[in-house]
Symmetry: C2
């Protein structure tokens, strides 16, 4: 039977989600636990990878198992064996047609930027923006250029992808004193796409690029024109949507 799991993790101490040899990854930690529960090697299929340092509040993966267990019991069985920086929030038994990656309809990422005084206790959980002179209206205007269907080739690390057209449904800014949360919902995001976009919007707020420049860069379809990447520690995979 197929289990769908919603998982949160603190990305700080992981070399990203996907297995990479002997490096510590989220996938490896979860598969080690499932090997014990299922008594055989069990591969998990996530909605997509996350990079080193990137956090998840609602990543989703699925796996198949011959073991029949109630959802809550499976959740407890996994959680009791996981390291403390990964936590299964929910387990659901799903139809075999469900696929954590191919069934995705939307994804929501949050990016947290703090413009206030540095707090060492939050260093891994937000981007402390080092420049105090920034026009945040411009940052917002820059972001709105990207809402809709576009070819985002200029804004991904992976220049070899054949299809780089994606749709961003919404980009919202939410303020909580000095902390800005940028909420981005789209049908899919490529490698480093959110971090490159955020970095370029911030550059725009510092007048390093104009709004017109950003539109041109979007048209260039070449990463060379968007060289910045915002730090991984501000990025959260907030939610994965399915029908």
């Amino acid at each position: 039977m197929r289990y769908k799991c919603t998982v949160s993790y603190d990305g700080t101490m992981f070399h990203g989600f996907q297995i990479q040899g002997s490096l510590r990854t989220v996938q490896d930690e979860i598969e080690k636990v499932l090997l014990i529960i299922n008594k055989k090697k069990t591969i998990i299929y996530p909605s997509g990878r996350t990079d080193s340092g990137v956090h998840a509040l609602g990543q989703v993966f699925h796996f198949d198992s011959d073991i029949e267990m109630k959802e809550e019991n499976m959740r407890n069985a996994i959680n009791s064996r996981l390291p403390r920086d990964i936590y299964i929030k929910k387990v659901e038994i799903v139809d075999e047609n469900f696929h954590a990656r191919f069934s995705v309809t939307k994804k929501e990422y949050h990016y947290l930027i703090d413009f206030g005084e540095y707090d060492p206790l939050k260093k891994n959980y937000r981007y402390y923006y080092p420049y105090k002179k920034i026009d945040l209206d411009l940052v917002y205007q820059a972001s709105q250029i990207f809402v809709g269907e576009h070819d985002f080739r200029s804004f991904t690390k992976n220049q070899k992808l054949s299809n780089t057209i994606r749709t961003i449904y919404s980009i919202d800014f939410e303020w909580n004193s000095s902390l800005l949360t940028i909420k981005i919902v789209g049908n899919g995001f490529m490698h480093n796409m959110v971090r490159i976009l955020v970095a370029m919007w911030l550059e725009c707020g510092r007048n390093k690029y104009s709004l017109e420049d950003l539109k041109s860069i979007l048209g260039e379809k070449n990463r060379r024109f968007a060289p910045k990447t915002a730090p991984s520690n501000g990025l959260y995979l907030f939610k994965v949507y399915y029908d």
Copy 2:
């Protein structure tokens, strides 16, 4: 001249404040930086130690230096060389009579307990309380027994201290959804005192001890009767007060 520094740090990756051989400590990291700035070994004097895993939002220390520097310049000189889990919030040039430890009038500690769902991103910053059945009114009533001047010998790890009489001025409970912040202000706290007190109050809320038991334990003046210690990751040295 004497510099007074207010410092915050994330205690997670430190073996406490005080130098301990080759272990990573807050004192060692700061003194390494002062060696560069002052061009000679410079000892720092904190208001008191904090244990491994304990955080600080307003720890205070002082040091002496022949180097004359504006407060803000000294702050920047130190911060630019510190690791990212320590941050100097304020530097003040003070009179030679000021001593970060001996001039303390009050100290305020906060202890954070979360009774809600576990969040792996906050694992180092609060105590996730594992028991759901607890009478929180009783926990509060238990805490209030300790306000005032008492001999706290039963509630310290250091049983060899000659004077174990301390005054707690106030103990306040502040709720933010599932998160309880206990704010304790007193004229001084001994080794593990806050963590032992909090652990015993929680035990009281689970009916492991009655309010009368707690009063007796206070009277016993022997740590043997208060065997629990709450985890270090929920504890914050919030503020040190001087006249």
